[in-house]
Every structure is written in structure tokens, then in C-alpha cells.
């Protein structure tokens, strides 16, 4: 059910993001989704890639600090109110979304979004109860 996201600590300096994408490209890692959250000093780059092992090894070898986090890839209906409906049901169930970002690829007719929850198990239950499709990790990497 869960997908694994990798995250990378970056200083807020010109060229750091390109350095990471360059390392991943050299390691033949394909980036499926990416989001950068930053402050004036530093940023955290979050990535869904097709091979976490290769990506983590390549980045660590180059001295980056890398973390792994479980996230959910959720199908969101590609129509007005599609995302709202999901956020609403999570809110109703008192489940906090730490952050989320969009996936490049669609799953059939639907958009895909990556959600990071504090309580991932509860989130899965709520989503499934409401017939929202959570995409399997293994599928996400190759979507």
C-alpha cells in the first residue's frame, strides 16, 4: 500500500538541485515525482524514483544526507472538487496531512498525488472506506 519517498537535505545554494538531478541521472535513476520545500537557508527535496536503492546509494556516496519516508500515492479524480473531497474526508477523520505534491503521470483518467501523513495507517483506512484508490508502492515507481 505504502510507497517509499526519499528526501535529501540541501543548502539553499545555487546549483544544489541540479547537482542532485545530475547524480540521479548518472546513476540511471528515473525521477517520478519531485517537490522542494525550502526556507531561506535550506531545503528538503522529496522524490519518488524508480529505484530507491540506486538513488540512495548514489546520493550518499556524494555526501548528501538522505532519509526515507513512507507516503501514500492516492488517485484523485481529475475534476473540480476531486482533491477537496479527499482532504475533506481526512479532515473529518481528524487526520493531519503533513504535506502533499502532485505526481507527473496520471493513472488512467485520474491524477495521482503523494500524501505524507503522521498516522499513515489511519489514513489508509479512511481512504479505503471512502473508496479512494491508494496505489501500491511497486506500481507507483513504474507508473
Amino acid at each position: 500500500m505504502r510507497a517509499e519517498q526519499i528526501s535529501v537535505f540541501l543548502e539553499n545554494k545555487a546549483g544544489r538541485l541540479a547537482e542532485v538531478t545530475g547524480i540521479l541521472s548518472d546513476a540511471k535513476v528515473n525521477i517520478r515525482a519531485l517537490a522542494l520545500a525550502d526556507t531561506s537557508d535550506f531545503g528538503v527535496l522529496r522524490l519518488i524514483v524508480d529505484s530507491n536503492e540506486k538513488a540512495v546509494e548514489a546520493l550518499k556516496n556524494r555526501g548528501f544526507t538522505v532519509g526515507r519516508t513512507d507516503v501514500l500515492a492516492v488517485e484523485v479524480e481529475d475534476r473540480p472538487g476531486g482533491l477537496h473531497r479527499i482532504l475533506d474526508m481526512l479532515n473529518e477523520a481528524d487526520i493531519n496531512v503533513e504535506y502533499m505534491y502532485a505526481f507527473v503521470q496520471h493513472s488512467g483518467k485520474n491524477a495521482v498525488m503523494i500524501f505524507r501523513f503522521d498516522n499513515i495507517d489511519e489514513a489508509v483506512k479512511v481512504l479505503e472506506k471512502n473508496n479512494v484508490k491508494v496505489i501500491n508502492g511497486s506500481e507507483v515507481y513504474t507508473l
Partner: protein, 433 residues
């Protein structure tokens, strides 16, 4: 192991009699042979005959690093150059280096003290010592080297640098004792990890680390990452080099000063007053056996305190606590005295913080600003920006609570803070005063 049972466990009374005898002989010699000391004595109306007890040492004025510089290069030598067989120098970060000399007997004394030190730190005949202290004018490399040979251990004179080759040697030669600066020891463990070598699989048992101040937390970190027992060794070239004081691996609680060769005192750095045992101040040394380069009441600028309590290892020599800073490292930030070691202690108290930090001091208008750069390792990292910001704030708050000074904390990527060779650069002071 106690190498020299006779001297190292000598009853205090006998030891003090020897110290006094040797002190008097040293005073006689410097008075006769070193114009600098004779002049100082004369200016203060003291003659060697006035030194009748160890208490009388207090009457003699201090010797400072500036005095050594003024007599650059050989002016403080107490023997003719014919009798000097070795010269070392410590790099001066400002101005001229400090030059020291050794007679053949001094070299032998030093080797014996280093052999004692290595033994106290867990080494023995049959051990293989991986000596990653730099060889050259710096006393670290050769000091350990001669001591290791004196002890009868095998020494690998690998020196500093070329870390990946060092990892290969560590794997292939199976050294059992590591000697290095503590920051280089951590660097070795990082590089080992990068190339897929685990210290768990190496044969190291003990590590003997010195040449820069390091904290108890850093000791924990080294012991955990290198799977060894880590002890602190102290020395400075002006006194003899490494081997002035050593922690016994049994207690790991303060460094025994080899009092049959060196007299330690702790003074108030501002007033020069000698402080009682237990009080923290500047460490001062008088050498009592050295021939070529004796020093009388030399101010080391190192901050520590002395502990006369008996030790579980059986040595009777007094212990100095781990050096907690340098009087010349002291930063005055908006009127508050700050030692980098205090910041280090605050960081090390925090579970998730790695011991890699750097202090940057700037002057913004008329206001001093302190920025603490902290490397983000895996324990400190989070995928949530909010958490990282909370950690920054927590570090800043702890610094403010413990030191009373406001600091801006900035998280940086690993290895931004240079430390690959020798000593880590802990302070960058950009103030132009």
C-alpha cells in the same frame, strides 16, 4: 598496563622529594645558561638559592609564548647546538613559529614518556600501532613513533592524509591501536563507511587521541563508531610534545601528568594567581628534566583543572581534567566570554546532533553576531521542514540557556565543515577589530 611502576606509582612524599631536587637543578641550569631566565630572575630579585620548596616556584615569573617568539629561533636553548640532536617547531597561526630543541637524553626521555602513555592507553608489546598523527615539524607523529618503538610495539608511520589508503592499510595490516587527532579519527570512520569497511571488522582495541580539545560526547561518538576504547593524550611541543599527560584506560577520567618530569599549576589567566585544586583556569608547566629546552612556568593557554584524588589504576601522579578550551580561543561576543568547547558541549548534549560544527563570528555594524553551523547527519535530518526548523530553534535555545549568548543556528550539508586533515577549523572570526 603501568610501564614504569617505580615512578608512576611512587608514594607522593618520595615523588615530591624527587620533584624538588629536579626543580632546583633545572633552575640552576637555566639561570646559568639562558640569558632570558637570568634576566627575569634578576628583575624580580630572585636567585636560584631562593627556591627552597615547591611553594617557592610561585615566586618565579611566568614564561609566555611571546617570550619564546622574542627569542626565536634558538635563544631559549640551555645547551650548545653541539648537543642538540633534534629540532621541532609548532606552526604559528600568527607570527613566527615556536622552535624547540632536544638533546639525545631529551629524545630518550620523551620516548620513555610516550611509551608510558601508550601503555596507559592500552598498548603493549605485540600491538600494531596505526599512527595517523602528522610526521614532520609537528611533534605528534614522531612522538608516538619513538614511544611505540620504545614500548616494543610495531608502529605503522602512516602519518596524516590519503585517507582511503589508510583504510586499506587498516584492513590489511590489522593494527590494534589507533593514534590520531580525534577529528581525524571520526573522519576515518566516515571514509571507511563510504568505502564499505566497518570498524567492527577491524582489529582496533584502543585509540589514543590528542592535539586538539575534545569532549566526553565526542569520546562516546568515537567509541561507538570505531568500536574501541578512546583515551585522551596531552602535550605541547614547548613542554616536550605528546606524552606530558595521559588518561589511563581503566578510569578514563582525567589525564595523569608525568610529575617526575613536569610540574603542573593552574592559574587565573587574568591575575596570575595560583588556583586551588579543582578550580578551572590556565594550565602552566615547568619542566624539570629537560636539557635543551627547559621551560619555567610556561603558560599553555589551555583551560583545565587539577584533580589530586587517587586513581583506580594505581598511578599516584596528579590528574588534569580534559582540556575544555584555550584562553586564546576565547571569543568575546557582545561582552560574553564564549569558549568553542562550551558550544560543543551544548551540541553534544543533544542526542541527534553530530559533533561537527563551526562558529562564525561577524560584526554587523557595531554588533557581534555568532552563527553556529551544524551539519545535518541522518539523525538530525527530517523530511519535514518544520521539524528541521524546530531543531534549529532548540539548538539556539540551548546555547542561549547555557551560555547566555544569542546565536543564529544554520543547518548545513555534511562535510561542509573542513576536517579531513589534522585539526578541524572550529572558529571563523570575520571581525575586523
Amino acid at each position: 598496563m603501568i610501564l614504569d611502576i617505580g615512578f608512576e606509582t611512587m608514594p607522593r612524599e618520595d615523588l615530591e622529594a624527587i620533584i624538588l631536587r629536579r626543580l632546583k637543578a633545572t633552575i640552576d641550569r637555566v639561570y646559568a645558561n639562558v640569558p632570558f631566565y637570568r634576566k627575569k630572575f634578576e628583575e624580580n630579585n630572585i636567585t636560584p638559592n631562593d627556591i627552597k620548596s615547591l611553594e617557592d616556584l610561585k615566586r618565579i615569573p611566568f614564561t609566555t609564548k611571546d617570550d619564546l617568539r622574542d627569542n626565536y629561533p634558538f635563544g631559549m636553548f640551555a645547551v650548545p647546538m653541539d648537543n642538540v640532536v633534534r629540532i621541532h617547531a609548532s606552526s604559528g597561526t600568527t607570527g613566527k613559529p615556536t622552535v624547540v630543541g632536544y638533546t639525545a637524553r631529551d629524545v630518550n626521555t620523551w620516548a620513555e614518556l610516550m611509551a608510558r602513555s601508550l601503555a596507559a592507553g592500552g598498548a603493549n608489546r605485540g600491538d600494531i600501532i596505526h599512527n595517523a598523527y602528522g610526521y614532520g615539524l609537528f611533534t605528534g607523529g614522531l612522538g608516538v613513533h619513538y614511544g611505540a618503538e620504545k614500548l616494543g610495539a610495531s608502529v605503522i608511520p602512516v602519518s596524516g592524509g590519503n585517507t582511503k589508503r589508510q583504510i586499506v592499510i587498516m584492513k590489511d595490516f590489522g593494527p590494534t591501536i589507533l593514534t590520531a587527532t580525534p577529528s581525524y579519527a571520526l573522519h576515518l570512520s566516515e571514509v571507511a563507511e563510504e568505502v564499505g569497511v566497518s570498524f567492527k571488522d577491524l582489529k582496533f582495541k584502543y585509540g589514543i587521541f590528542g592535539a586538539e580539545p575534545w569532549s566526553e560526547k565526542m569520546r562516546d561518538e568515537i567509541e561507538r563508531k570505531l568500536h574501541i576504547v578512546a583515551v585522551d593524550i596531552y602535550g605541547l611541543s614547548e613542554v616536550i610534545g605528546p606524552g606530558v599527560a595521559i588518561e589511563c584506560h581503566e578510569a578514563k577520567k582525567g589525564l595523569h601528568v608525568f610529575e617526575d618530569h613536569f610540574i603542573p599549576e593552574v592559574i587565573n589567566p587574568s591575575t596570575g594567581e595560583v588556583l586551588p585544586y579543582g578550580e578551572t583556569g590556565e594550565l602552566v608547566f615547568t619542566t624539570i628534566t629537560k636539557e635543551a629546552f627547559p621551560v619555567i612556568r610556561y603558560r599553555t593557554r589551555d583551560i583545565t583543572s587539577l584533580n589530586p584524588e587517587p586513581c583506580i589504576c594505581g598511578r599516584t601522579h596528579i590528574r588534569m581534567n580534559k582540556v575544555s578550551g584555550r584562553t586564546d580561543d576565547m571569543l568575546i561576543i557582545r561582552g560574553v566570554n564564549v569558549f568553542p568547547s562550551q558550544i560543543e558541549s551544548v551540541l553534544m548534549e543533544m542526542e541527534e546532533v553530530e559533533p561537527h560544527y563551526q562558529l562564525v563570528v561577524d560584526r554587523d555594524g557595531n554588533l557581534d553576531t555568532l552563527t553556529v553551523l551544524v551539519e545535518v547527519g541522518e539523525r538530525l535530518f527530517s523530511d519535514e521542514v518544520k521539524r528541521l526548523q524546530d531543531r534549529e530553534k532548540k539548538i539556539a535555545k540551548n546555547i542561549k540557556d547555557y551560555l547566555g549568548v544569542s546565536a543564529r543556528v544554520k543547518l548545513v550539508e555534511p562535510k561542509v565543515i573542513a576536517r579531513s586533515e589534522g585539526k578541524a577549523v572550529r572558529v571563523i572570526d570575520n571581525r575586523k577589530i
